[in-house]
Structures are given as structure tokens and as C-alpha cells.
Symmetry: C2
Amino acid sequence: MNKLFEHINKYSSLGSSAMRDMESALRKIELTKGSFLITEGKTCDHVYFLEHGCLRGYYNLDGKEITYWLAFENNFVTSFFSFISRKPSIEFIQLIEDSVLYSIDYTKLQTLYQKHGDIERMGRIMLERYYVMLEERFLANHFKEAKDRYENLIEKSPHILQRVPLGYIASYLGITQETLSRIRSKA
Amino acid sequence: MNKLFEHINKYSSLGSSAMRDMESALRKIELTKGSFLITEGKTCDHVYFLEHGCLRGYYNLDGKEITYWLAFENNFVTSFFSFISRKPSIEFIQLIEDSVLYSIDYTKLQTLYQKHGDIERMGRIMLERYYVMLEERFLANHFKEAKDRYENLIEKSPHILQRVPLGYIASYLGITQETLSRIRSKA
């Protein structure tokens, strides 16, 4: 759980009472590659901290799986849309590697927000970060060529090629696997 | 300013001390149609509450203006990406009608967050709402046909055709004005 608190403390510091209550609300989960955290149509009741491993969010479009995002260690993951709005998820979240996660459920998190101002601050700051990341993703889709987005991806996650199947990377970039191979051979 | 506090209180209630401090941090602005709240390349130092009027966010792509979002009364507006990340804005925000707004600057808002737990809660809840709206927009672009997105738009903002030029609506839907006319004639 240390990694989680180290991560949080980079952005917002929690007092010892908030940390204690948060610790007892968290549940450690170990899941194998291929498992799902959430499937389409279910309302997502948990937010997870990914301590170790990696995963992808994808949705089905006319029977095709479209990889929508990828996440590695030290990130909060969930279908934020479903978790916040309490509506059914449109996406699937699937583990690409055996992973270790900590989960907290929706109701417990609301209780922690009510009780601890420093946890509410952390929530506000994390949401700001994830809002900016979502908008960056949105904007990159409009502005950047696949080649630039590939280069950004490699720069941010240099280990991605060793960890994520090329098909998922191509889908994430919105290109075919052949185009991805061409981009890679020129890089 | 009543509309602003009515709006906030729908989602999160503010105590009288928080309301007083927020009132004195707000600045009323009246601007005419065509004015800009933010232009590309500038860091956005304010978040605005749109009390009356309407506006659009757009960006330039290869010399073409792409309308990215539209906002009407009772919404907070800013380049959230720039305001949160403190990086230059990629978009322009331009008034489509003469408008009345209340603005609060970045530093004052941070001070209010530090001082008032109820303002921080409001910030957290508003961010959650805007996160969900951004993701809905993102997902609609992937999942829905222009016709469905047009129908959603009319349902949410029945007055849109009277207030927003058709060219902006077409751009927002990612279609030509001719396609929009065809959709409208069949509706």
C-alpha cells in the first residue's frame, strides 16, 4: 500500500487520521492476465489503484474491440464515467498482465470525502489530473498524426512495446497493425 | 449572482461564510457578441459562470475553425485544460451572444479551496460533472451517427437553432452544412 500513499503524497498530503481510515477502506486484489475489472453494461462501483501490472480500457464498436486507453503502475483506474455518473459502463477494463490493485468502493469513498477534508482535496486534485489527461487524449485525436501519437506514447511509456500487444497499441492509435509496423520501421 | 448560487446549491450546499468569501472573489463581466474569453496560446487564468448568453469553444485545424463545444446559461466555462494544467490554451472561447458572466481567478479559487471545505467539495463535484460531460462528448463522437448527435443536441438545447449559427452546429457535429440541412429536412 506504500506505493499508493507515495503516489497520493506527490499531489496532496494526507494526515495520519485520513491515512488510517483510507487504509482500512482499501482492499488488496491480485488478478491474473485476461481478468476483467468491469464489463459493458455494469455500473462500476469501485475505483482501483494499480500498484503493479497493466491493463486496457476498450469498447465494442460493431463487433470490433477498440482500445480506448492503457494504464500502467501508479495510476487510478476505473470507468470514471460509470463510477461518477452511476450509469452502466460503456467500456470493458481488462488486465494485460497479472496485476496487483487496491480497490475502494463508491459508498466508502463518499464517506471518506465527508469525514476528511484532506481526502476530499486529494479527490479534487486527482480529478483535475484525470480531466486534463482525458482532454489531452481527446485533443491528440484531433490534432496529431498517428506517427506523433506513437512517438508520444513511446516517450511516456518506453516499456510499452514489451508489455502491450501491438494490436492493442494500433487500435489505441486508431490505425491498422500494418501502418503501425511501417511507422516503427521508419522510427 | 443569485443564479450562480442557485446553480451551485443544486449540487452542493455552501455555508454563509463560504458564500460571502466567494461573492467578494467574483467579478461581474458584460461582454458583447464576438468577444473572446480566451485565445489560443494564452494560459487561462479564470473560470467563468455564464449567467446569460451563449458561447462556443473552437480551435484552428489547418486554418479551419472547428467548433469543439457550445455552452448556454448556468454553466461554468473556461479552457479547463489550460486553467487546471497552467499550460497555454489550444482553443478559443468566443461569445455568440451578448453575455453576462461572473469570473474568478485561479489564485483566488485556490485560496477559497484552502479556506472553505464546502467550496472544495463544490469544486470536486463540479469537476466530476464536467469530467462526465467531456467523456460523453468523447464517446458520442465514436459511437453515434451525426443524425443521433443532432437529435440529442436539439433535445438538450431546444433553443439552439435560434441562437447558434448553423455553421457552428455543423462543425460541432463534424459534418458539412449541407449534411446538416439534409438531416433537418428529414427530421
